[in-house]
Symmetry: D2
Subunit: 338 residues, 4 copies
């Protein structure tokens, strides 16, 4: 941490700031420049709150030098983390191929889709039972009945289940029925939920990026889960909000190489929610694999025209099948197996 003093700060100011720094148990290192005096903090500064320094009237600004995250930090854990989801490995060379409908609608629907996507090569089944919707008047998901349908589909296909939990009260139920628990974009900074799934959730977590979250904020949310006791976090990029209105959101594929520098956690891409249009899924899925992602989460529906939600962004099973074929060639070039 670097503390920049105001131009008019005098020696008394400097001494007071140095005293504060030492009260935090870290050492200070002063550089007096021509017009600016800078105080460097040496030692473990993760517990020094920048605001406590910034509030001093002689301080101009406080700049962080180290990352505020530790457990998720690649620097302290150079190897890729490989997360085990009911036997399916994610990370390193292992790709998560998650597919299924936006919403669970019926046993027939989910089982039919599950069989089809498994046939194509998917290794996990997604389906929403609790749905975050912008409007209270939209379909809110089947809830517990929906989870039970997913369990049926798992029995029929063996595919591990991915589903979103919107509240801590469902954790026990998810521990029992679901294999990878999704935390949605709108809950990325629901800190109580993060702590609870950290403490009590026995399954790995798929943490979606918030709509306007920076990489660091996203990793800090993973750090919340990890610091609370659950080290098994997979990150999922699903598009960020930009000024573009033609697409639902803008998929940020730079996140793949950047996150691989910052953290050892796997990163999965969701091209369906990012673009909001089915015809964007194919080119963006190819691009994501080419950029080195650890998995893809794709919406597949056997009858998108009748889907209760997100029909416009769902692929039909035959399109998904074609897509996986094309992806396998690209995966090989970048050194991954599909």
């Amino acid at each position: 941490m670097i503390i920049v003093l105001k131009k008019r700060a005098d020696d008394n100011d400097l001494q007071r700031v140095l005293q504060k720094v030492e009260n935090h148990g870290v050492q200070a290192h002063v550089s007096k420049g021509e017009s600016v005096t800078v105080v460097g903090l040496i030692g473990d500064t993760t517990k020094v709150d920048p605001e406590m320094m910034e509030v001093d009237e002689a301080v101009d600004k406080v700049m962080k030098v180290s990352e505020p995250y530790k457990l998720a930090n690649r620097a302290f854990h150079p190897e890729d983390s490989i997360i085990d989801v009911a036997g399916v490995k994610v990370g390193g060379d292992h790709m998560a191929l998650i597919a299924g409908p936006c919403s669970v609608e019926s046993v027939e629907q989910v089982t039919e889709i599950a069989k089809a996507v498994k046939e194509s090569g998917a290794n996990m089944l997604r389906g929403g039972a609790f749905k975050p919707r912008t409007s209270p008047y939209s379909f809110q998901g089947m809830g517990t009945a929906g989870l039970d349908i997913l369990v049926e589909a798992k029995k029929a296909t063996g595919l591990p289940i991915v589903s979103e939990s919107m509240d801590a009260k469902y954790i026990d139920e998810f521990n029992e029925k679901v294999d990878l628990v999704q935390i949605g974009a709108r809950n990325m900074q629901n800190f109580d939920l993060l702590k609870e799934v950290g403490k009590r959730c026995t399954k790995p977590i798929l943490l979606k990026r918030g709509l306007c979250a920076t990489y660091e904020e996203w990793i800090m949310s993973a750090e919340y889960i990890m610091a609370s006791g659950n080290p098994n976090v997979i990150l999922c990029e699903r598009g960020i909000r930009t000024f573009e209105t033609y697409t639902r959101n803008t998929l940020d594929l730079q996140s793949i190489p950047v996150l691989k520098k910052m953290t050892h956690l796997p990163i999965v891409i969701d091209p369906s929610h990012a673009g909001g249009k089915w015809w964007l899924v194919e080119p963006m899925a190819k691009a994501a694999v080419a950029a080195g992602c650890d998995g893809l989460m794709i919406e597949v529906h056997n009858n998108p025209e009748k889907a209760l939600c997100d029909g416009p962004q769902s692929l039909k099973p035959e399109k998904y099948d074609e897509l996986l074929k094309q992806l396998s060639g690209i995966a090989k070039i970048v050194g991954k197996e599909l």
Copy 2:
């Protein structure tokens, strides 16, 4: 709702779309233009999901004509809503003057601040007991002990209490101890929490705007609370994220006149969180009152340099006192009483 067909759509396409529209129980009205055919929907379209239409291969886009919110809509409730917070009225000509520390730290601290701000003219006391922090390693608030301290301060001053609830599990406790329950910016789209405070919270809600939320999304979150049974919602603008990094966030004061067109709910401004710097509070508070806001929420701390959080954005009590004096002149000009 308006459905725009693709340029190449033929009569069969049109008939299929018309059939779908009628299946939703609304009437269709066709306009054939030179290059585009447009279908207008007539009747109550709030239950028609635009996505169900958009997924049709002959549909180019679907445009909403009416607002998707009803209970919060000014059009259906032309009078200003006046919300009663433990006897203090907010809305219409009545201004909420909420002040207090970011975090509750001790009985002495809170009571001292509460007395000072009451003396200056504040009519509600704010204080954080449960704190949403970006880092799991930052101070997370005193929790229940913090709420109890606020109750003490209320006994000493009579000021109603405003505090943030981050999870539905605290609702009973907040019903007992708090007078205005804050839902934070990061929980604005925590739909489970919105539904629960709608159903079970007996106190009015102060709903903060999300960091990248549009006005419509914000009102839809109010609509969630109202549709679940709690009509007493106050909106609070606290700055949105922009590319500017000098300030914490950018305060959007256009929200005041715009929201007054869109909704009948009161709107309160929080200049402390928006700018993140104490010296921005005074000019922005003046501007907010001049623009016609229904209240101000301002952080006041008796010792900002030692504040456990948000010290840099807190006013000292004497500054707050001066500020209210200046505000009262501006309030008079825009027809409000402070």
Copy 3:
């Protein structure tokens, strides 16, 4: 400037970086922390290009400590700049009250509006002769004929003229006919134009903020003009792009107190373009004055329904008259004269 080395940087790396620093004629100051080594640069670092340091393979990041602007910097020029526009002072206690139509349409139109706004208290006349339009098929302004009409209106009223120049080729003409030359938001980083108006324009410049520009970028554009020889720059906030689509742009009134810290240049607010709706002008103009702005630029049209551009955001003369009356009370409270 602070150079943060990578965690794995060794002594050879450090020596190489120090050598580079010294090659730039500045001194280095090394702080070795537990996990990070930091090199502080001491001396005049405005000529050290951060990228030249960042490219070193041992460097993690480079952080600026001083502002990159000098001529516009409040630190080196503590007094408010007062700009003289054909006898009208702007800055300090002096307010610019600029009003007029978006586009010049006819002598009658402009003269009628000019007389009306002067009567109400305006001290400058605005009018667009060269119009930046998103579409090549929209009305592009009357050009030279438009400037001549403004000159006529000046003769009739004595009001100095404000108009936008979109290209350096018009500078001579603007020097002759216009009193305050506007550089539009879309040209804020048209660096050739900035240099040319710095070198050859004999009149003060009104520099609008780019749609997604930060304060620092905006001031750097003023610095371009000043460094090229024209010290008379007035900044104009006209709204920034955000995710909100209800309004054209979002007016950032925090810019007023922040810019007053960063720079000595005056700041004028344009509430008409920011909101894009006439009924937002009144509350936002009041807010801007309450926040301490140095002037207002407001679109006034005698017949907004027939305006060739920006009709929806134009006030009628009688509304403008009412507005100025209300503003004068607020101005008094914040210590300005209208």
Copy 4:
């Protein structure tokens, strides 16, 4: 175009609006809904200014149904445009492989890089002679001398030259020396420049996307050039501004499939400027090819550590060589030849 009337609009209002519509030479089609009346415009509405309608006091909002661009519109020109740059074809199956230094520094530098990238497979040479820099104190490019060096390098290698023109006054010189004229991101809405290169530039234009431009705004800028007489426009995505500060900008690869729907113009990706870090170039270049782009513009420098600008984002020639080898496999899978 759709005009939505206010809820309280009566028959007189409707008649007035219909009259206005007819005055514009288009037909109106009225749909009276339960709570809203909607007027659809039929005929060529490109010349109807939405603002002229929006300003009517009975009008709630105006919604566009057709795209405002024609010459660039895929709907009116279904075939891919193939642009010829001094014999190198771009578009359809033909990929532009543009490489070279950010800034021209010397004949030796440019010629050495040009030979190396040609050897690797590049088919055009880029180099900046006129540089848009945020600071007036940064290196501004070699100007005319820089263009002459590029001409030398072309003689030595035969590679067509790509370079940025920042002002219309350079057009004749660029016509003589340069093969593909770049319009930079900050000039995307410098409408005078767009018109001039449309009228007078005899070479194709590479139009970069503005930092916060939407697809439609970007295409409208291409439309400006085309409507002024130059139909040869190549679009170049170079990253947009987002809240992420770790990277310089965020590369938007959804632009590739979306623009291919909207327009027939080719789209080239610049991963160097987008990320601002050399190690992001490889994964993003692969992703761009996988997503179907028509070309790549990549910064290559023989000595990035000494580059006068943008060193951190430049590849060394040997890295570029490796990259092209990997790209050719991906290109084959998506049906293109490198």
